[in-house]
Amino acid sequence: MSTADAALTQKFDWSSESAAARRRRRHRADRRLRTIGVVAISIAIGLLGILIVSLVSTGYRAFVQTMVTVPVYVDPQFVNEDDPSKGNYRAIVKGTLETLFPEVTDPREQRELARLLTNNTQFMIRAKVVADPKLIGTTFDIRVPVSDPFDQLNKGVIDRDLPEDRRKINDKQIGWYDKLEAEGRVSTPFNWGLFVNSDSRFPELAGLAGAIVGSFYALLVCFLISFPVGIAAAVYLEEFAPKNRWTDLIEVNINNLAAVPSIVFGLLGLAVFLNFFGLPRSAPLVGGMVLSLMTLPTIIIVTRASLKAVPPSIREAALGMGASRHQVITHHVLPLALPGILTGTIIGLAQALGETAPLLLIGMNAFITSPPGGLLDASTALPTQIFIWADSPERGFVDRTSAAILVLLGFLIIMNGIAIFLRQRLERTW
């Protein structure tokens, strides 16, 4: 050891007070950093908790629906036996109410009484009769939703103790409802209608089926466009493109594209797909195409990152064996990158599922009462349905908005769960 080395060790005294103080300061900084992290996580989880709690506390009501079971006499005089779809079913409903409440005779009161049942009761009866014409002339029980105010009454949202003029329903109507309840005709089963019905003007009938199918179609289109195109673009950029100013420019633009506000894509879709190409408004096809503009950069970026993460030694091994470029990519690089690509794609699709603004611009917020039969049928999507309902004044829609958000969140959780599952399942170590 030279003298210089000796001087160095002597000069630094690890056990001195100043060294100890410096170490203490460093430990304090460690603890501070950790505390900040814990606080940040707590804030994030807390906010998420508030969101979920507020949604659940209003949304849970929409997952059950107040129903009433009433006897229906299908009077042959009101129904055309050759074509049961034609007939005066409104009169049949009236008859039902008259048998249940013979004491109500005043026409005005009868109208108030009729508001107890959902407006579509007559159509539900007709559907049953059309399905089974033998019912004509018989009496059968049918379970129909009560109209929204009575649903809210049953759920305790409408307060009986309020003065009559400050409620949507009067004391007499409450009396009739109580009579039905006393007869054991009222039930509150799980609200399957939320998932099998489409939108309706009446909250008690409105469901998400159309929106779910619309979102599914839009995501399908989005996936079919952005997945192959994204992977092909990423493979080209990563594996084939020369590294020069042009590819740098493309790279910067793709990254920018990922950050463009989604409403801009909506405007683009409106201008190009609808106005220029004349594709139909409100169609899931157009929705999916617009969403794919947003998903595409995400998929390209994720795919490139996954391709980059494949160790170069694997490429060299394959090239060294005499594999051609495309064999290296299809046999080795892509399979190894696939878990990352799939994870990124699912996360991109999940983002697209929640995207609202571009869909509003291409008219996927129309009022549509049946699920789309194909890619070109007018449709809504889950987020736009939420948007529509959030805009509706009826009390029932407030609950349904929250419920729809919960359904959307449920789908998002499922998709992200699949992404995590795939990542853990397919991930390889080398």
Partner: protein, 276 residues
């Protein structure tokens, strides 16, 4: 080695000193005035060398002197590096390997490569070996392929160790086994030349001994070129040795000659450990 520190002061020549060997096998690979540039930077200067078949030629020299660069020219792996340019002539069986009419895919099948770090594919042991024969269509049916896999693994001295677990991932083997798997993989396409870039640098002495033994057996059929930092290894396995320094091929000749009687001052300094 030191006892050979020769009395006559070795010269420092700009030309490559070539010590000929009358018993040398016919030439398989030859380079003539090969220069390699990485962008503006020249990494190899006018390298000319003849490499005989059915023998082992080792490349030695200090780090960064261009051994790997030259090795990678021989199967054109440098093509994959952006900005890398090769000038001069390299021939395999008297055919210019940079000739546009020569398919690089074919060249790389004929000139196999084993890398410094074992790099098996993350696939089964079987698929690792079968990959080359499959892409080059060397086996027409399953039993033929099975035969190729077995004989390749036997040549690499790995068969006994893995014959019961051919479906296990190749990445699950030990480092030494992985390197022999990579050698078996290279052998499976019946190459004419096998390039090895420091094949033992990630291995322990026992695995190294196995690989060296294997190289010794393979040289009966193949032209082998090995880059190594271990002069003992070069002395043990190779018949000819080439010494590179700062991108220049300084001296090439029979191994015992290079180690006992180097003609160039730089070779002498290197093998006696004066720099490196």
């Amino acid at each position: 080695m030191n006892q050979a520190a020769n009395a006559e002061a070795p010269a420092r020549s700009a030309e490559t000193i070539v010590v000929d060997d009358p018993n040398m096998n016919p030439i398989r690979v030859a380079a003539k005035d090969t220069s390699v540039y990485y962008g503006q930077k020249q990494a190899l200067f006018d390298v000319s060398i003849d490499i005989p078949e059915r023998s082992v030629t080792s490349f030695i020299g200090p780090s960064g002197c261009g051994k790997s660069t030259f090795l990678r020219c021989i199967n054109r792996m440098n093509d994959t590096i952006d900005g890398c340019r090769v000038e001069g002539l390299i021939t395999l069986d008297e055919r210019n390997i940079y000739d546009p009419s020569l398919d690089v895919v074919e060249l790389r099948a004929r000139v196999g490569m084993v890398f410094q770090k074992p790099n098996p594919f993350p696939k089964s042991i079987y698929d690792n070996i079968a990959y080359g024969p499959r892409i080059h269509g060397l086996a027409t049916n399953k039993s033929e392929l099975d035969g190729v896999v077995e004989s390749s693994l036997r040549k690499a001295g790995l068969w006994e160790e893995v014959k019961d677990r051919l479906d296990d991932p190749g990445t699950g083997l030990s480092g030494g086994q992985q390197q022999r798997l990579c050698i078996a993989r290279a052998v499976a396409v019946s190459p004419e030349v096998i390039l090895m870039d420091e094949p033992c640098s990630a291995l322990d002495p026992i695995a190294t001994a196995k690989v060296e033994e294997l190289i010794d057996e393979l040289k009966e059929n193949y032209c082998i070129i090995i880059v190594t930092h271990s002069m003992q290894q070069a002395a043990r396995v190779s018949q000819r040795t080439a010494f590179f320094h700062l991108g220049i091929l300084v001296e090439v000749g029979p191994t015992e000659h290079i180690f006992t009687n180097p003609k160039d001052e730089r070779t002498h300094d290197y093998i006696t450990g004066r720099f490196g």
